[in-house]
């Protein structure tokens, strides 16, 4: 699993996090909520080992799968090849194919299976990236604003079937959209530079409003 011990990270001279402690609960879906620029992506990348913290330690146990904010597909590989790209190389060819096709079906990508990333829409590219992440062998799934580019219908369907795929695994979701957060996750956390605050899932709206107005007062009094 993932645990953060006294993690600090600066960008240039600007401290993003200071002395952050956090323990990822096993087999649950959690969401980090925060405005853009608060370091959500940085936090995810540190968890994935793509970024090193300046101070402190990030300990990870288990295989990680990642949905980036951008699709990050290979431009010369078609949708099917991209979706199956990170799958376990030991899988039998037929099983690999069957699982891929099932996933493409689920994400409404079947008709686009042989198209190249340059020939599909941004939303389809995002879904292909989601398919790749879900097909990869993983214990921990990290998602960076994964559903923001989807149309509402499909988003709702994904929210329906996702729990079946990620059952028993840990999922960390990062979002600025508290509705997605509330619909998908077991627990929601607010991200601030030195703290990760647990928020009541059913009370996110009020909490956010409270923070918002506090901020406004703060800047007004300055």
């Amino acid at each position: 699993m993932i645990s953060l011990h006294g993690v600090g990270k600066c960008f240039g001279d600007v401290p993003l996090f200071e002395n952050l402690d956090f323990q990822l609960p096993a087999a649950s879906v959690i969401c980090f909520l925060g405005p853009s620029g608060c370091g959500k992506t940085t936090l995810l990348k540190m968890m994935a080992g793509l970024l090193q913290p300046d101070t402190g330690k990030v300990a990870v146990q288990g295989r990680i799968s990642f949905v980036f904010q951008e699709a990050r597909l290979l431009p010369w590989a078609d949708v099917r090849e991209n979706a199956s790209y990170a799958m376990d190389p030991h899988l039998h060819k037929r099983e690999l194919r069957e699982r891929t096709d099932a996933m493409l079906d689920l994400l409404e990508l079947k008709d686009a299976a042989t198209l190249l990333p340059g020939q599909i829409s941004g939303g389809m590219a995002g879904r292909t990236a989601l398919a790749r992440a879900l097909l990869a062998p993983f214990d921990i799934l990290l998602l960076d604003e994964p559903l923001s580019s989807l149309d509402p219908d499909l988003r709702n369907r994904i929210i329906e079937f996702l729990p079946g795929i990620i059952e028993g695994k840990s999922v960390v979701l990062v979002s600025h959209d508290y509705r997605t957060a509330a619909a998908l996750s077991d627990s929601v956390y607010l991200l601030s530079p030195s703290d990760i605050v647990s928020v009541d899932k059913n009370d996110i709206e009020k909490t956010l409003q409270r923070i918002e107005s506090a901020k406004r007062e703060n800047s007004a009094s300055r």
Binding site: G49, W76, A86
Partner: protein, 249 residues
């Protein structure tokens, strides 16, 4: 973009214009030994084509060009990959590559004639010229790899061999194509220049030297014309291969 017929028109127009100027100057000079006319050059070229020696020379030179070029393409790709991913390797190779780039061609040809037999000397000289070109192309291709995709490979722990085959090599494609395009023509020139001085048994460069020694300027012109056609032929062949093996880029 202009239409194909327009392209053809301008190609033919500029070629004819060039030949016309050539003809005009040759009329002005009026001495075949200084500047042969286009028609006598072409006539001489046709005569050459009936000579078995011509084909032996062309075959020997093309063989050297392909051998030297392919060897260097493989070596430069391997070294370029190593340097692109390891800055230790990059800096270790840097002095060698800099020397190869800076060393004067004629000096190397003369030295390699002292050191090697004419066959080896030709390929060696070509290596010195062509390796840095191809190597730099590969290194800059790797330095320009998509950071986001690299990160994607890291996070999913994609194996080294798969990364190379499905990500690195396709990314290098345009750089390699550019390298091959400029490199093949350059190899041809360098090999012929080396042949002129090293005089292997058969070779286009050897024939240049023979014609020059006989003060046969028309022959030198005809051989030049043949080399131009050969290089153009290689370009066309390569373009066709590229088309056949898929893709636009």
């Amino acid at each position: 973009m202009i239409s194909t017929s327009r392209k053809r028109f301008w190609l033919v127009f500029s070629s004819l214009f060039g030949i016309l100027i050539w003809k005009a100057i040759s009329l002005g000079v009026n001495r075949e030994i200084i500047l042969p006319s286009p028609e006598s050059t072409v006539l001489y070229l046709f005569g050459m084509l009936g000579d078995a020696l011509t084909w032996k020379a062309v075959g020997a030179t093309l063989r050297r060009v392909l051998l030297a070029f392919l060897m260097n393409l493989i070596a430069a790709t391997a070294a370029g990959l190593a340097s692109g991913f390891s800055s230790r390797f990059y800096y270790a190779l840097k002095p060698l590559v800099t020397v190869m780039k800076a060393v004067p061609t004629m000096g190397v040809i003369l030295l390699s004639l002292i050191w090697f037999n004419s066959e080896t000397a030709v390929v060696f000289v070509c290596t010195l010229i062509i390796f840095p070109v191809l190597y730099s192309a590969v290194v800059s291709g790797i330095h320009n790899l998509d950071e986001n995709l690299l990160e994607m490979h890291r996070v999913f722990h994609i194996r080294w061999a798969k990364t190379l085959r499905h990500f690195v090599m396709p990314s290098l494609r345009p750089y390699l194509i550019a390298g091959v395009m400029s490199g093949l023509g350059l190899s041809m020139k360098v090999i012929i220049a080396a042949e002129v001085l090293s005089q292997p048994g058969y070779g286009i460069g050897t024939m240049f030297q023979v014609e020059r020694a006989r003060l046969n300027t028309t022959g030198v012109f005809a051989w030049s014309l043949l080399v131009i056609f050969l290089t153009a032929g290689m370009d066309i062949l390569f373009a066709a291969l590229r088309k056949y093996y898929g893709g636009k880029s």
